[in-house]
Structure formats: C-alpha cells, structure tokens
C-alpha cells in the first residue's frame, strides 16, 4: 500500500516526508519534478507517474502536492481518496492546509499521519476518532502547552475505534442542542454562443452541523424525494431505510459533516438563473478589440442573485483591457491574461455591464476563439431543483433540539462560450 508520503510546495521543495515502511530516498521525487516541469500548468501534472521501481500518485490541493510512493499494485483511487482525506483532516485541524500551517504544526502533522496509516494501510481516518487521540491545536492550548510542557496527544485511548458507530464519540454534551442542515445546490452548465443551454445539471449536497447531546437518532424526510436521482451518503445513513422508505435515518457524527450528496435526475429541465449578453470581437488587422458584457437575471423565482463573479481567460494576444464596469470592480492581469469582474448583486432594474476595448499586440493575428466566461453566483433561500425537506425528527434522547434548515443555490462549473 502506501509506502511514503512527500509534501512538495509550489516552488518544488520537499518540506515534509513520512515513511510507513522502510525509508524511500527523496530522490524518487525527481521523477515527479520532471513531470511538473513538463506540464505547463500545475493542474496538468498527471496524477499517476510511473518510475522504474515505484509509482508516484499525487494530488494537488492548496498549491501543495501530496506525493505518495507506491511499490506494488493498489487501486489508484484508494490512494487518491486517502490523500484527499489527509488534506481534509489537516484543514479540519488547522483551519487551512497551507505550507505555513503544516510547518507550524509539524508535530501534530506527524502524529496524525502516524495514526492514520499503519504499515501503509488506513487505520483511523474518521476525524472523530482522530480528535479523540490528538487534540487539535488552539491558541489557548498552545499557550497552556508551552507553559506546562504537555502535548496535544490526548489522554484517552481511541475508544471510538472499537465502536459500531465509529464516527460518533461517546459522552457528547451540549447545553444548547442544535441541528442545522444546509441544502446547497450547484448548477453545472455550458451555455453556447447564442445563449442556449448545451448541458446543465444540478448537483446538491446536504451539509450538517449537529451539536446534540448523547446518542440521538435522527430521521430526515423530503417532500419530493423522487427528485434525487443518484445519491451518496455519509456512512452513518442507513441505506436499507432509504431504499425502502426514502427517508434518511442516521446517528449523526458530532459537529460538521456532509450527510448526503445527490444528483438531480437529468429529465428535469434546469432553470438557468442568469443570462449573459456578450459582444466580444477582434477585427482583422486592427490592434483593437471590442468587449461588451451584460448580465441579467433569468429564472430566479423572485430571489436575488448575489456574489456574482465573472472571470475569463482572454486570448494570449491581448495586451491590455480598458473597460468600465457599471457596478463592481474589475481586474485584468496582463501576465496571465485573466480578467475578473466582481459584480456583487444583480439589480434587475439596472443590469450590470462591463464595456470597453482591448488592445492587442501589434502585428499579431486575430485570435480564432473568443474567450469562455466563467460565472459564479449565489442565490439564498432557494434550492433550484425544488427539493424541500419535509421534517426532521429525533429519537433516542429526551430533550428538544433546535432545528434549522437553510437552502442555497450556487454556480458550479458554469461556463458561457462566446
């Protein structure tokens, strides 16, 4: 299984290594660096790189490469999934997973890696169990530790590992018992030049934040469960119950977790909440180009479209852009040619627009393709698929919890071709 792990930063330095079996020399990473050099963008590095004796599987998160060294046959997804789990754990512990955070908490990082794998096979990946073993660093604890000379290693033994509900620790106590659920839907779409939808689909997740005392057993039911075409669950959800009654029944982990992710069946037409009017043109022989962009709300069910952000990778020939936005601010990076426009809220009465000219390299031929426009936005209090939670009940505990459900729609990979 996983032999060793190297953490490599954006400038190509190995800043942390961990070996679970015998020690593999750092030089194995040279193959990886070669691959990085060959790839033009950091994202283009192939995730699986074969070398004569090993195989390197890497993931890129937060500008850090996590490079795992494999020696024999293992499902590559197994390793990739695990590496992502490691990053998630770091984020959970340190808030962010950056080089600085890892270096500051190097002891905790080693402790975590030691517990997460045994001889290269995952042992404890459930954040609940890990937190019982190794307490996450907080400012207060760091101060206390410095004074008293203790460490973050928990006093308790990982009893959670022995439990049938390993994701939940025992003896949870809260004075305020609350359970919040966020239904977040993302629209992935490709819109073509003429404004018609080429492909659009809705992916949703239900993220939960549950702070309940004891061992509560929750059920969550939907008004229209049929909408959910394909689902994947947190291990706590009882699959049989879902199959039979379309009800989510589960003993929740303590704290934040992703309860469910789903895909809305493709038969349903997807309401596209915004439209983009564009007029981007380059004239042959001239060193000027025209750029015009107008955004407007489409099917928003009466809700406001907020936090709109437009970004576009302009052709290489563009030297500079001289634009004026009707609202918000825009930036253009002449090196990366990335244009981004922070629009904010769309006001249906006064549609936001960005107009102006682009200057092109003199003598360069006109670019063949107009840039694609990537869109981000948020709509509060709306699940665009129409999914609605019917009710949430709790069994197994006597108190009455406070329950809350929030809906939100966001743009996922939303692209407009021009």
């Amino acid at each position: 299984m996983i032999h060793s792990l190297f953490l490599v930063n954006a400038s190509g330095d190995i800043f942390l290594e961990k070996h679970w079996k015998s020690v593999v020399s750092r030089s194995v990473c040279d193959y990886f660096f070669e691959a990085v050099e060959r790839a033009t963008e950091p994202e283009n590095v192939p995730p699986v790189i074969p070398t004569p004796h090993h195989c390197l599987i890497n993931v890129l998160r937060q500008r850090i490469y996590f490079v795992a060294v494999i020696q024999s046959e293992v499902p590559p997804l197994f390793v990739i999934e695990f590496l992502h789990r490691v990053v998630d754990t770091f984020q959970d512990y340190f808030g962010v997973c950056t080089e600085a955070a890892v270096k500051d908490n190097v002891v905790v990082v080693y402790e975590l890696l030691e517990e997460m794998l045994d001889n290269g096979f995952p042992l404890a990946t459930e954040s609940n169990i890990l937190k019982e073993l190794i307490k996450p660093p907080t400012i207060l604890r760091t101060v206390v530790n410095t004074i008293t000379g203790s460490t973050n290693v928990g006093e308790q033994l990982p009893t959670g590992q022995l439990s049938v509900v390993p994701w939940r620790r025992t003896g949870v106590k809260y004075t305020n018992n609350e359970a919040y659920f966020d239904v977040v839907e993302e629209i992935d779409a490709i819109i073509d030049k003429s404004g018609s939808t080429i492909t659009a689909e809705i992916q949703g997740v239900i993220d939960a934040c549950v702070k309940l005392t004891g061992m509560p057993d929750l059920t969550l039911s939907f008004m229209n469960p049929r909408l959910l075409d394909d689902v994947s669950f947190h291990p706590c959800v009882r699959f049989k119950r879902w199959e039979a009654e379309r009800i989510l029944s589960f003993v929740p982990p303590d704290g934040n977790f992703r309860l469910l992710s789903y895909h809305v069946s493709s038969q349903n037409l997807v309401a596209i909440p915004v439209y983009v009017k564009h007029n981007i043109s380059f004239r042959e022989g001239s060193s000027q180009g025209r750029f015009e962009l107008t955004l407007g709300p489409k099917q928003t069910m009466g809700k406001a479209v907020e936090s709109v952000l437009v970004s576009s990778q302009l052709p290489r020939g563009v030297l500079n852009a001289n634009l004026s936005p009707s609202q918000g601010t825009y930036t253009f990076d002449p090196v990366t040619k990335l244009l981004s426009w922070d629009v904010g809220k769309i006001n249906p009465q006064k549609l936001p627009s960005l107009k102006g000219s682009m200057s092109l390299q003199t003598g360069a031929s006109k670019p063949d393709e107009n840039p694609t426009i990537n869109l981000q936005f948020k709509i509060q209090q709306l699940a665009v698929s129409g999914l609605k939670v019917n009710r949430l009940d709790m069994y197994g505990e006597k108190y009455k919890p406070f329950k809350g459900i929030k809906y939100m729609t966001k743009a996922g990979k939303f692209q407009v071709r021009t």
Binding site: H84, P122, S150, V153, L162, F233, H263
Partner: protein, 1001 residues
C-alpha cells in the same frame, strides 16, 4: 509542546542552511521531537548550568505524561530501528510486557509498534505475539494482528507457512473490524490460496456493508478474483461482445434465451455477491464506488451493468485526480459498451478549465460514444474544441474527428470537408494535424479526392511542420495518377530544398521521386536522378540506404535482378488503410480500477483476473455447518468507577449493531469454549482497566511509580528514552557528529541517569507490586447450590486496603436466575476465628447480571479455610475460602547483599530445602521466574549470578520474611526456603517443587 513556537523559527533557519550533509535528516529528528537548536546547543555547551537547564527542559517535556513520551519513542523506534538495531532491541521487553496488558488498546498499540520494528532478530518474538493476538478476545487486537502479519511477511518471507495458518484463523473471524485487515493480509501473503476463502465467502459478503471503507475496497477486489474462478460466466459464450447499439444486443439475447435448451442459472452465491455490493455504489468513498463498478463490470450479467453508470458519472464531480482515474476506466468501458454511457454523453463535454489530461480523456470517451445518431452533436461540440486556445488539445480534437470519420462512414465526407476547412487555419499545429488526419482518411477512402490533394499541394509551401509535409508528399506519390500535372512540379520544388528538409521529409521525397519515375518517367527522370544523387551523400544513413535501395529497384541496369521488373508492383501496391483506434483498446486486458490499468503496464503484485471456468467448481465448498448458538448465562459487569472502561469493552465485543441485550451479544459468539474463558476473564480485566488508566499517568509522583504494576519497566523505558534522545541529539545524524559531542555524551548520560536513578531507586525499596497476578478464579458458590446465585473469588495479590494483615480478595457474584436477587451480603457471625472485612451489601442484582466486589480476610498466616455465610434476602449459603500458601505473602524487594545477610540469619530449623531434577524447558531464567511467582506472591531480586534465582516476600499477617532461592546445577536444582514460619516454609517448598518439575506452562 515546549519548543513549538521556537520551533518554527529554527525550522526556517535550517531551511537556509541546506548545504549541510544531512541537514534534512537532522531537521526531521528535531522537528519530530519538537526540539530546537538552542536546546541542543545548551546540551553541548561546556557550562554546567546551561546543561542542567537543558536537561530540566527535557524532563519538563516528557515527565508529566509518560504516555506522550511513549508515543514519541514509538515514532522514533519505528523510524530508526533498522539503523540502530541494538538500541531498538532494548525496548522489546517493554512491548512484550505490554502485550499482556489487560487493556485491549494497550495490547493493540504494543503489537503495532513491536511489529513495526524492522529488526530480523525479533522475528520469533513477533511471530509469537501475532499468534497470541490472533486469538485475543478483543477484535481490535485481532485487527492489529492482521496488520502485523503483513509487516512480518515483508520482514521475513520464510514465515509464510505459519502466517497462512494465522490468516486462516483470522479469516474465520466474524468481526467487521477484522475482516478488511485480514483480507489485506491474505492478498499480500497468499493471494493464491483461494481455498481459504470458500468457507468464509458468504460471511464476507454479508459483512461487507458494515466493514470500514478501506477494508471494503480490498475485500471487493479479492472477491472479484474469487468469483471469476468459482462461477460460470453469466455472459453468453456466443454473445456479441462489441455491440453497436445496446438495443440490438438485448434483442438478440432475448431470442437466444428462448432458443437455448439449457438456460443459464446464476449461482446463488454469485447473486449474493452482486446484491450485497450494490448498496456500496452509494458510498462517499470514491475508491469503494470504483471497486464495486469494476466488480459489476467483471462479474455481472451484461444487462445489469447499467446501474454502475450513474455512480461513475457522479464521481466526475469529485477532485481532478479522481476524475482522471474514473475517466480512464470509463474510456475502457465505453469501447466495449457504448450504450452504457451514451445517455450521459453531455457529462463528458470539455470545459475550458479542465486540465489537459482530463480534456484528452473526455475527448477519447466522446469519440468512443459517437454513433450515427449522435455524431452530429458530437461534431458540433468538436468544432468548438478545435478553436480552443490550448493547441495540443485542438490537435487531439482533430485526431478525434478523424477517428469518428473512419468509424462512421456516413459522416466521412462531412468530416473531410471540415478538416479541409481547417487547412486554412492560422495555427500551424492545427493545420499539420489536419493534414495528417486527412492523409489517413483519404487512404481509407479509395474514391476520388483529387481536389483535396490539389488543395493540399497548394498549401504545401506554407506548411513547415515536417510530419505534415511528409504526409502531403506521400499523398502526392500515392495518388500521383490523379494529379499528373501537379506532382512533378512538387517534386521539382522539393529537389530545390532537399538538403534543408527534415529526415522524415527527405524519405518521402525519395519515395515520391521513385513513384513518379515509375509512372511518369518522361518528365521526372532527371529530377529523380538528381534527388537520388543528393540522397546518396546525405548525412543520415537511413536516407543513404533508402536511396541505394530505390536506385537498384527502379533504375534498370545489368546488375539489378528480377526485382526491378516488379518495382511498379512493389511501390504502387494498394495499401491497406490504417485503422484508427482508441488508445484504450488494449487496456481491457487489465482488471479495471487497478494501478496496472492506469499505467497500461503490469505493476508488481498485479494479480491476473482468471477467465471464467467452463464448468463451475463444486459449490458445496462454501457451505458452512451452522453451529447452534449456545445460550449461556453471561457475566457482564458494570462496576462502580469503571463504567467507562466496561463500555469500551462492550463495544468492542462484537459487531452487533446495537447495544441491546447482553445475552444476545454473547450468544453471537458461537464458540462456547471461548465464552467460558470470557466469563472467567471479564471481572479481572475490568478491575485492571480502571487501574491502569490512572496509573499510566504518573503525574510526576514517585508514589504513583511505586504502585504502578510495571514500575520497573516504566523506569527502564525512561532510561531507554533518555538514551534515545541523547542519541538523536548528539550522536545521531550519521557521522556529522563532532568529536566534541561524542566525548560529551557519556557525561551527559551519566548525568541523566543520576538525575533519574536516585529518586526512583529509593522509591523502589519501599513497596513492590506483584510481579504476576494469576487470573484463575476459584469457585465459591456454584449456581446449583446457590439457587441461581453463583460466586467466584480470586486473589488480587495487592496489599489489602481494609487492613494491613488482611489478604485482599475479589469476589464476583452473578445471578443466573430470572429474577433479581436482593440484599446480598456476608452474615455477621463467622464460624471460624478469622477477621473478615465484608463487602457492602448489594441491594439488588438483576437477572443475568453480575457484580464484582472486594473483601479482605486475615488468615493469620495459616492455610486454614475461612468459613462464612453468604446471604441473600431469602437464603443463606455456607461457603469457605481455602487459601494457597503462596497467596498469604506479599512481595518485597531488597538488594542481593541484604538477601544473603537475611538468609544467614534464618538457618537451621528455619531453612528447608530440596533437590529436584528440572525439566529442560524450565531451565531458562524466564521460566524459573515465572513458575515461582505464579505459585507464590514473591518479588524477584535481580541476581548477579547466572544460575541462582532469588525471591523474597513477607507473610501478610505477621510480616515475617520469606526467602526463596533456586540454584541450578545442571540438571538438578536446589530449592531453599528460609522463613520463621516453618510450616508455611515446607508447604511452600512442596508447591515450588511441583511447579518447577512440571513441564506445563
């Protein structure tokens, strides 16, 4: 941690001093231990005060919590054991001791570390530990044992046979915790021993859903291989594998089903596997989803395959790396079965933000999915891609268009026209790629395309990419008869630039010249000869060779033989069109989802998926005899302050989902033998659990150390740790060590030892905890005589808290009736004279419940039984406790000199001795020590001489010394007991004698 804030600073500083030979390694150690530079400097300095300060800080970090320290030592040990074998060996005994710890988590972590130490000498110890742990009551320890199997196997493959035995045993395990790990061990050690799986197959299938996610992946892959060897193919043997449209495929199968006289019936076990893996498609773990998908792909009937599609498409929403692997697998699948993914075609549309390798894979899949119905949509989509700013991707798209054009004859012309349009593209790579693809297409299309060729000839001057130029030249030559006027002119131009061309172009020029010479020699004879002359003196030997060959072939002269007659037929032979096929065509030889599939080459350790057997092997091998669960009254305790521990025990106990009734839980353990031991062991374990959790944390108090069961070990551990720390501070990172520090280290060592030894050593004199606590219980009251109340007792060998002259006992009461028993107590009047400290009356004991209480009895240093009445609300039972003489002692420790001095005082009447013949297996020091301390509660005195073993203790009531010495004189041994209590002395002698002569454990 102490050095935390300073640490980051030192880390950065070190980063700049990269030039040091092994800065990295040193860096690692210091950061590993939360160390920093200045501490090291302080230790290395010459000033005593600084050194002292540094040591205070070391002790400050590690002292308060012995467990944290253990943890760091573990990390260190595992990492450096290979390089520092001797040092590592020092620690082994500590782990061996911890393997017997009553707390399962400590046992498990001890095994985990012990097995991670890669030192070949300890292989036998590891083997023993694994065997023992494999039969442990705790599933968590068994899981750790399964992990340890792999480690031992990689350390010493010769142990394979023994390890297989352990694997076989563990495969029978019913716990979900163990399943994943043991299958992993199976895959690593003996993947070919499919016979071990038979009996466990159904169990594994049923457990699968509840196994942790990583285990699921491993089990599913293993079961895929298993199923391919055990079941017959669910696919029709004569079924069309490459179906063009899904519908036609199903139709034909439907028909055949009717036709066939012997319809296929799926083995129920085969069905079981498919049914039980299906829910896992909903897992959040992408590796599990992929594993199930490949299982369905390799095992399921073709018409059931469609259920995996959605899940795979869902995975495309995940991280970039996940997408990459999933797309690769979809690409392979989509070649064979277009129908599966066609409805999801739009999910494979390329976004401009995708990484290049993702784009290429999506393109591949779209090409595979193309058919008559959707080709127009796909081509329209491709048109957008061709214009992409990513030129490499645009080029790949052109190839994809070429592929579509050859595969679907209806659109060939459309594609060709589209490609010709691209020839006027400004980008060179696009044009070049188009030329190459057009060349291939024209070759497949024997029909007339002379205008395209003409068009290309016109473009020729503007194209500089060698591959494209070569392609055009080849086309000219091949179809020179269609363009009789243009071709010679092209040749003329080429003759001018021949020397400046790339090799690949030169070859094609020679080729073109030869072909023209044959078809149109009148116009091109001179040109050809000119070119051949140029080629003759080319720098490249390939071109020189080719030129010589062509000249001999086409120019008739006396030397050329019969071949030149056939030159025309050789050069102008109709050539088969190239087949444009997917790069994923041959990947299906590998099992999907594997590393080998991703790399498209066999990775080490890849296990070939066998073909379906023609006839299914015997199905009955998977039958398991059903053992009726025996219902036994089970004893579970929930006792005062250790509620928490007992809970953890309970949780661990079985895979039972709920914490429902306890009797149910035990009945799920079908092995009744096992249960009896469980029954016996439970009470003691729990007692110790509570103790150790408090004792593990020493909180710096020496009192605590003295009462810690393994205080000696603990002390040793501290010493080992200090040695290790010193090592990594001063000696460690290889030969970088300066002579100065190596001179210093012995001083430091002695300093540190002094620091530690003086207080602890004096503490050790005071009191000693028992070296060994027997776990056997004795029957006090049988449940038949006690009308359902049963009682057992055992000696805890601890100093009694109720009185100094009392022996402490632990009593376990259990109720096997179906009503609660009330007011259980010991009656006031005692028949014999002993002083008994009664336990507090138990108000109520629920049916099937049990409780452990402790009591004290003053036996007055005699083995006379203590008789008393055990009462319930209704009944009274007379019971008696007969102590063994060894239980009437408490261990003490003293120096060797003191021992001989005391022994000298107790001679004559007070000495009893005997000579025995030792059985050979008892001769080792370990076994002598073990035998003696198991018989009597004595302390072991470290002996300076090899063959003499000394033990000391005192009687509980009177406190008289009891000294035992065993002197080995091969093959005999002399046992001497010195004590004032002569009766006890002789009784003890008898018992020690029997213990040492018996060969049993």
């Amino acid at each position: 941690m102490l050095g935390m804030s300073a640490n980051s600073v030192s880390y950065n500083e070190q980063g700049s001093v990269e030039s040091g030979v092994d800065a990295a390694q040193e860096n690692r150690i210091t950061t590993l231990l939360g160390w920093n530079e200045d501490l090291k400097e302080m230790l290395e300095s010459n000033k005593e005060s600084l050194k002292l300060e540094a040591m205070k800080r070391i002790v400050g970090v590690f002292h308060p919590k012995i467990k944290n320290l253990k943890k760091l030592v573990y990390v260190y040990l595992v990492r450096y054991a290979e390089e520092q074998q001797d040092l590592a060996l020092l620690s082994i005994s500590t782990f061996q001791r911890a393997l017997k710890d009553p707390n399962q988590l400590i046992r498990a972590s001890a095994l985990r570390v012990l097995s991670s130490i890669r030192v070949p000498i300890i292989v036998p110890i590891m083997m023993l530990a694994i065997k023992e742990a494999a039969t442990d009551l705790s599933p968590y320890v068994r899981k750790t044992a399964a992990h340890a199997i792999q480690k031992l196997y990689s350390l010493d493959p010769d142990q394979k046979e023994h390890l297989i035995e352990v694997i076989e045993k563990l495969l029978k395990d019913k716990s979900t915790l163990v399943a994943g790990s043991v299958v992993m061990a199976f895959e690593e050690v003996c993947p070919d021993r499919i016979d071990l799986i038979h009996k466990n197959y159904r169990k594994l299938c049923n457990l699968l859903v509840d196994v942790e996610e990583w285990g699921q992946v491993v089990i599913i892959h293993m079961l895929t291989r298993y199923a391919r060897t055990q079941f017959v193919s669910p696919w029709r043997e004569d079924a069309v594998f490459d179906e063009n449209s899904a519908k036609a495929f199903y139709d034909s199968e439907e028909e055949r089903r009717v036709d066939q006289s012997k319809p296929y019936i799926m083995d129920p076990d085969h069905r079981l596997l498919l049914r039980n893996t299906k829910p896992l498609l909903q897992s959040r773990n992408t590796a599990v989803v992929m594993a199930v998908s490949q299982l369905y792909w390799h095992l399921a009937p073709k018409h059931e395959l469609s259920i995996i599609t959605k899940s795979l498409v869902r995975l495309l929403r995940s991280h970039r790396e996940v997408q990459y692997i999933v797309l690769q697998n979809i690409a392979t699948m989509s070649i064979q079965r277009k129908g599966m993914f066609e409805p999801f075609m739009k999910s494979f549309y390329v976004r401009s933000t995708d990484a290049t390798h993702i784009k290429t894979l999506k393109l591949e899949i779209l090409t595979n999915l193309a058919n008559e119905a959707n080709i127009s949509t796909i081509l329209r989509e491709f048109q957008t891609y061709v214009k992409s700013q990513d030129k490499a991707f645009a080029a790949a798209t052109i190839q994809a268009i070429g592929c579509c054009a050859t595969n679907i004859s209806e659109v060939t012309d459309t594609c060709l026209n589209g490609l010709v349009l691209l020839l006027s593209n400004r980008d060179e790579t696009v044009v070049a790629e188009s030329v190459v693809v057009i060349k291939k297409l024209l070759q497949t299309q024997p029909s007339q395309h002379s205008d395209i060729i003409k068009h290309m000839a016109k473009l020729f001057d503007n194209i500089t990419v060698p591959m494209a130029r070569a392609s055009i030249l080849w086309l000219m030559g091949e179809y020179c008869e269609h363009v009789p006027k243009i071709a010679p002119d092209v040749l003329r131009k080429m003759a001018k630039t021949f020397t400046d061309e790339e090799d690949i172009v030169k070859l094609q020029i020679v080729n073109l010249a030869a072909k023209l010479y044959l078809t149109n020699s009148k116009q091109t004879k001179l040109l050809t000869q000119y070119i051949l002359n140029l080629g003759k003196y080319d720098q490249n030997y390939d071109i020189r060779d080719r030129t010589r060959f062509i000249r001999q072939l086409i120019v008739p002269n006396e030397k050329s033989g019969a071949l030149s007659k056939y030159a025309r037929r050789i050069l102008m032979a109709p050539k088969p069109a190239p087949v444009l096929q997917s790069a994923f065509k041959d990947r299906d030889r590998f099992q999907l989802g594997t590393l080998s599939h991703t790399l498209n080459s066999q990775a080490s350790g890849y296990l070939e998926l066998s073909d379906w057997p023609a006839v299914a092997p015997d199905q009955s091998v998977r039958n398991v005899e059903v053992v009726e669960p025996v219902r036994l009254p089970c004893i579970y305790l929930v006792f005062k302050d250790n509620v928490k521990n007992s809970e953890s025990e309970e949780n661990s106990d079985d895979s039972n989902k709920s914490s429902s009734s306890q009797s149910e839980k035990s009945s799920s353990e079908s092995d009744s033998e096992k249960k009896k031991t469980l029954k016996n062991k439970k009470p003691q374990q729990q007692k110790l659990d509570s103790k150790d959790s408090t004792k593990l944390v020493l909180k710096g108090s020496y009192d605590a150390i003295s009462s810690f069961p393994f205080s000696l070990e603990c002390y040793k551990l501290m010493r080992v740790l200090m040695l290790l720390l010193l090592f990594c501070l001063t000696v460690s990172p290889v030969p970088v060590t300066t002579p100065k520090s190596s001179i210093l280290s012995p001083n430091l060592l002695s300093d540190l030892q002094g620091l530690l030894i003086s207080p602890t050593a004096s503490a050790l004199q005071v009191g000693v905890s028992p070296v060994f606590v027997p776990e056997t219980s004795h029957e006090l009251l049988h449940r038949m005589t006690g009308k359902g109340l049963s009682a057992q007792y055992r000696f805890t060998r601890q100093p009694c808290i109720y009185g100094n002259s009392m022996v402490s006992l632990q009593l376990t009461l259990s109720n096997s009736t179906d009503q609660a028993l009330e007011n259980i107590h010991i009656s006031e009047k005692s028949s014999t004279g002993q002083n008994i400290h009664r336990f507090n009356a138990i108000e109520r004991l629920e049916p099937q419940a049990s409780v452990t209480v402790s009591m004290g009895v003053d036996f007055n240093d005699s083995t006379q039984a203590a008789n008393f009445q055990l009462c319930t609300k209704e009944d009274e039972f007379s019971v008696s406790i007969q102590p063994a003489v060894g239980e009437l002692l408490l261990p003490i420790t003293m120096s060797e000199a003191d021992f001989t001095k005391e022994q000298g005082k107790l001679v004559g009447m007070n000495e009893s001795s005997a000579t025995i013949t030792m059985t050979p297996e008892n001769v080792s020091s370990q076994s002598v020590n073990r035998k003696v301390v198991s018989v009597a509660n004595l302390g072991v005195i470290p002996s300076g001489q090899e063959n003499i073993y000394r033990f000391s203790g005192k009687t509980v009531s009177s406190g008289s010394l009891v000294l035992v010495s065993v002197v080995l004189k091969d093959p005999d041994a002399v046992i001497t007991i010195n004590t004032e209590k002569t009766v006890m002395g002789s009784m003890l002698l008898r018992q020690v004698k029997t213990a040492l002569t018996n060969s049993g454990p």
